[in-house]
């Protein structure tokens, strides 16, 4: 529990950067997104606590998704507040800081990659590409059978 509270300062920082990106993108005033800040903070906090007490192979961000869904399933005022406020910050605005951090954290490790043979890198590209298209293909077939697409 204490660790979850301690972690929240990093969550606030990540949230601030997502909101900052939204402002840079379309000029939405920073402070008009205060409700997004609160709604997302609460869901993330609950997910940190849940992960702490109910450990499973699921990553913590999956907990955030599941808890967000559970909170919003009943048709209450909470649902309207949460959906509205999360919607104010665009999905891509949350991706940009994430990928900036991801880039910064891996550049230094390119050396490790150099030590591996180029063959491993080719294998990774083949493995991930075939996973991506393999799953997409099955979904294409499944979705058309179900009439979703």
């Amino acid at each position: 529990m204490l660790k979850s509270i301690d972690d929240m300062k990093f969550v606030f920082l990540a949230l601030f950067l997502a909101i900052f990106t939204q402002t840079v993108t379309d000029g939405t005033p920073l402070f008009s997104m205060w409700d997004s800040f609160i709604a997302m903070s609460i869901i993330v906090f609950l997910s940190l606590v849940a992960k702490h007490y109910l450990d499973s192979p699921l990553p913590t961000f999956a907990y955030a998704t599941i808890i967000g869904i559970v909170i919003c399933l009943p048709d209450t005022i909470v649902r309207i507040f949460v959906l509205d406020s999360i919607g104010k910050v665009g999905f891509l605005s949350c991706c940009v800081p994430l990928l900036a951090f991801a880039g910064l954290s891996v550049g230094g490790r390119m050396e490790e990659l150099k030590k591996l043979s180029w063959k491993i890198i080719v294998l990774f590209l083949v493995v991930s590409t075939s996973c991506f298209f393999g799953a997409s293909l099955i979904a294409q077939i499944g979705f058309s059978m179900k009439g979703i697409i």
Partner: protein
């Protein structure tokens, strides 16, 4: 005192990231590459990851000494910690996408479960290639799945630490951690060219890690209408959820046996050719 020391990398990294965001989002913005009649959008987030990777390269840090002093190991490890926290924010975003589309997701549930079978494709394609490359049993670890955390756990449990299979899965894991995000945003951008439906590609976006998911699905939906984008993102998130739940099971009971089989078949062929 300890606290102040700990705060410095936080402040430095935050400023650096804010600048990277500003450059990627505002200065560069979204660009489009047109090849003939096909146009491929290049999103600011792709620039963000590329700028980040470039400025954190060891060579760059060594060449520009001032920068090397500002961006040290501490800042790098803080950035890697923040990836996890940024993912949590994204987790709430996915919830916001799934709720309005919950009926759709329920309908898509069964096909998404079977989608795990699509993850077996690398076994058929990559294992023969790995054996051509001269890999031994490393091929089984490297090519039986996309090699994220659940796969490492399964391979470690089955073959043990330090075995060739374990080294194989770790090598692909490392590649995925370093270039996976970049590669998945490329896959997400180019996927549409195959003619597959955006919803199907969204399901494919969910096969890997959280950053791979965000990179591929973000790139994928940038050209869709807001309504379609919401549906596609919700499918991507559901697919990723299911992959984390079902992935380890399908690797244990289908993936590894199939990989062992392919390995045997390919090696026999190789022996025959060599004989």
């Amino acid at each position: 005192m300890g606290d102040i020391k700990g705060l410095k990398p936080v402040i430095k990294t935050t400023i650096i990231v804010a600048v990277v965001i500003f450059v990627a989002q505002f200065v560069i913005g979204q660009q489009v590459i047109s090849i003939g009649s096909v146009s491929i959008p290049i999103l600011p987030m792709l620039f963000a990851v590329m700028i980040g990777m470039f400025i954190s390269l060891a060579v760059v840090r060594k060449k520009i000494a001032v920068w090397g002093k500002i961006f040290t190991q501490k800042e790098e490890s803080f950035a890697s910690k923040m990836v996890g926290f940024s993912l949590l924010i994204l987790g709430t975003q996915y919830a916001g996408m799934i709720i309005p589309n919950i009926d759709n997701i329920m309908k898509a549930g069964v096909p998404l479960l079977f989608q795990e079978l699509g993850n077996l494709l690398p076994i058929v394609i990559a294992i023969p290639l790995a054996i051509k490359f001269g890999l031994g049993r490393e091929a089984i670890g490297a090519c039986s799945s996309i090699s994220r955390e659940p796969s490492i756990a399964v391979i470690q449990g089955k073959y043990g630490t330090g075995t060739p299979e374990y080294i194989g899965v770790l090598a692909i894991y490392l590649c995925g951690s370093v270039i996976g995000t970049l590669w998945f945003s490329v896959l997400g951008s180019l996927g549409g060219l195959t003619g597959l439906h955006p919803f199907a590609l969204a399901a494919g976006s969910g096969v890997g890690s959280g950053s791979m998911l965000s990179a591929a699905s973000g790139a994928l939906v940038s050209t869709l209408s807001p309504e379609m984008a919401g549906q596609a993102l919700s499918i991507a998130a559901a697919s990723n959820l299911l992959s984390s739940v079902v992935g380890a099971l399908s690797l244990t009971f289908i993936g590894i046996p199939l990989a062992e089989f392919m390995y045997k078949v390919c090696n026999k062929k190789k022996e025959l050719v060599n004989a």
